[in-house]
Amino acid sequence: MTVWPLKFRECGDGEFLLTDDTGGFFLSRQPFLERYAAGELSLVDQEFLRGNGHAFGREGDPDWTAFAYRWAQRQASQQELSYVILVPTLRCNLSCGYCQVSRAPETARGFDWTEATLNATLGFIEAMKGPQIKVEFQGGEPLLRIDLLEKVRSFVRTRFPGSQFVVCTNLQRLGNREWAFLDQEDTFVSTSLDGDQDTHQRQRTHDDLATDTFYKNLAEAVKRLGPGKVSALPTIDVDEPPDFGELVGNFERYGVHSIYLRPINHQGFARRRGSHPSSIAKWNTLHSGFIDYLIERNHRTGGFVEEYYFSQCLRRFLRSGADDHVDLRNPNFFASDYIVIDHDGQFYPTDEARMLSRIGRVDLSIGSVAAGIDQAKVQLLNHASFNNFDPDCIHCAYQPFCGTDVVDDLSRNGRIDLARTDTWFCRRHMSIFDKIVEVIRRSDEAARKSVAKWARVPSWGDHMIPVHA
């Protein structure tokens, strides 16, 4: 019998988490670890390892094939291009201190698509395979160019019936024409809601009138379009976080139960504010506290709220195939299933890459609608867009669940060849997966209820985690 390589991480109370490259896992203790390391596995050990999928008899036997299959399933497979993020204008009618995307003043010139860019973009979309595609309008504030949005949508509807549209808007200024655009079956709204009223005003709207307008429009959008059509994200300043209770209550009020807590990004204008070395530790503490808060709150209210990214990571921990979130999958090949088209017609692999290029840190554009995709550059980025052979990741118990983020490394460190453990990405995800291992092992009713909901299973308990004594 051959045992596939196991990696381990201590998870408290003398217990160890052991994982293999397919993401198979179990809990055990020091004596087993010593037997494993010394090559002195007992018959009981061997039987357990075989049964839990960590060993095989000979190459090609059913255990070997099943392992190979599970490993392959763990890898995100490259998809057809089916998702475009469009930035028809960089102009915006808000000026948020942390602006994620960089923006131009509302009255500025030269920050909108030209007629030629519009036509080239439509030509690019027309060449996509379909049959259905998703179009996300970003900005700036995209509704400032409602005319361009209308043209794109009607073109896409004709070419790819059944497609979806998402408008990422600050919901500040909506006239009849804007409402008519949003109020359509195939169109969804994504907005920012930074927790409680004070925080939202401090970070985004700056004065009472603009804040009131936003809340009024958000309420109207939920009412008019239906709660399933409006999603919202809070951007969190780790030094001035909103009150958790008010934040969750605010989201629940607008029918949003999945909250994606995002740290203020290190790109765009936000970068200018700098990032203190301890900020990742602070973020991890805050995020972990938020998870505990949700468990307690869900138990108390009988409701169900999740932190979107934590649930996503939990599902990645448990099973393969949770590759629908483009920020965390492995490999994460660029310009494969989605691409960003900026206000000047430049292609970017991600929205973050676009911001990073805009502030002049590094040019991550990968071609333009006029010239096409620069495959050489895409390949250069793709060389580093998976964690399988990273000299640090290969020792990590969380490797099969995790990913990598070239753009984030470049943004924060200007290079990608750092020790993983020195990167924001690694430290953030180590913390998330540690938290996952903590909460799935909790035996109290409150944790079990939330974990079951977040993992999308009817109930959670001891039977869900293999343990080897």
């Binding site: 299959y69 999308r456 959670w460």
Partner: protein, 382 residues
């Protein structure tokens, strides 16, 4: 699940619901396959009304006369409008026509053989020794089938006639690109030597339904009545995986295997991760299942914990897990989303307690032949 269109069977419990065997009269001597067209309610005859069609000529209260290149066919006792598009197998000597494919039903299954090399304790259709080769007739029937049909192939054990089965699949799939197959097989008869032939088929259009009852070999072997069956099915599921086949695992829940269901869930997640669907199925009260009801029927309404834990585990690991043939009220609310209505239209029934039930429209109810004393201790509490 897989309904069975019955050919050459003496007892036909289905006849009480929708008749699958028709009384007929014909001039022909040899058996043949024909598609019946009554054109009722249709704007115009379909353009593929070829030489294998028989069109309705006359009808009165008792008899309908269909005529075509295959001769005249008189059908008794059925409203001919219900037969439009049906493909029937006419056996003149017995004055019967079997509805091989009912155009109005999504559940059509062809019985390849009644032979089987296993003898499952709950077999709904106990095997017989004799075999009649129906492949030529089935081939014709599939070519005439309605567009985009899924055709079930069952038995007995269809792969006892593996080379004929492969020929049949290759031929019909090449000529009808719109048709999918759902094949129920014990997977005892594949080997690595079949890989080439399997890969030659468009495997995206075939779902292989394979029973696995326990992760403990001895229990599985005992249930299927064959020594070594577990090791064989394990090996051959692996072969099917290598070929790229789509697999539906089928586990009939019974007293002997219920306690090991969580272990089976782990086994499926770890060893059979290529499973498309894992169906945990309540027992059908028919065939040996009826004979052995007392020792087999597991009351999942009271012992749902065993089922629930297995389902939790499998779902968490990404296995698409379903509960088939479970009346919804016997399933705790959080698990109902995994219990689709699966009992085919022609064999579904409800009991008196179901009359006012809110869940009835989503519930599959019971098999028509399920005893009215249904055996669930916790029932009707939806």
């Amino acid at each position: 699940m897989g309904s069975r269109t019955v050919v050459g069977r003496s007892h036909d419990p289905c006849a009480r619901v929708i008749p699958l065997r028709l009384k007929v009269d014909t001039d022909a001597i040899d058996p043949y396959v024909v598609r019946l067209r009554s054109f009722e309610g249709m704007p115009q005859p379909p353009d593929n009304c070829g030489f294998l069609d028989a069109a309705l000529e006359t009808a009165d209260g008792e008899t309908a006369l269909f005529a075509g290149a295959t001769g005249n066919l008189r059908v008794f006792g059925v409203d001919p409008s219900e037969l439009d598009g049906d493909i029937v197998f006419v056996v003149p000597s017995r004055k019967t026509a079997h509805r091989l494919i009912r155009a109005s039903s999504p559940h059509n299954t062809l019985l390849i053989t009644e032979r089987c090399d296993q003898l499952c304790v709950m077999c709904s259709q106990p095997p017989k020794k004799q075999h009649v080769n129906m492949f030529p007739f089935f081939e014709t029937a599939v070519l005439l089938a309605p567009e985009n049909s899924t055709i079930g192939l069952s038995g007995g054990e269809p792969t006892l006639f593996k080379s004929e089965l492969f020929d049949f699949l290759r031929e019909t799939m090449a000529r009808r690109h719109d048709i999918d197959f759902h094949i129920l097989t014990n997977a005892q008869h594949f080997g690595r030597a079949d890989l080439a032939e399997l890969r030659d088929l468009d495997l995206s259009r075939i779902l292989w339904g394979v029973p696995v009852y326990s992760s403990a070999g001895a229990i599985h072997d005992q249930i299927v009545g064959k020594q070594g069956a577990f090791e064989q099915v394990r090996k051959n599921l692996s072969v099917l995986c290598e070929a790229g086949a789509r697999i539906e695992l089928r586990t009939v829940l019974m007293k002997p295997n219920a306690p090991g269901l969580l272990d089976l869930a782990k086994f499926v997640a770890v060893t059979l991760p290529f499973t498309d669907t894992w169906a945990i199925m309540q027992l059908e009260n028919i065939g040996y299942g009826r004979q052995n009801w007392g020792s087999l029927f597991f009351d999942s309404s009271l012992g749902f914990d065993l089922v629930g834990k297995a389902l939790d585990f499998a779902v968490s690991r990404g296995i698409n897990t379903k509960l088939y043939n479970f009346p919804l009220c016997t399933v705790p609310a959080d698990y109902r989303v995994f219990a689709p209505s699966t009992i085919s239209d022609w064999k579904r029934a409800y009991v008196a307690d179901c009359a006012d039930c809110d869940l009835r429209t989503e519930c599959g109810g019971f098999f028509e032949w399920h005893p009215k004393a249904h055996g669930y201790g916790r029932f009707g509490v939806a």
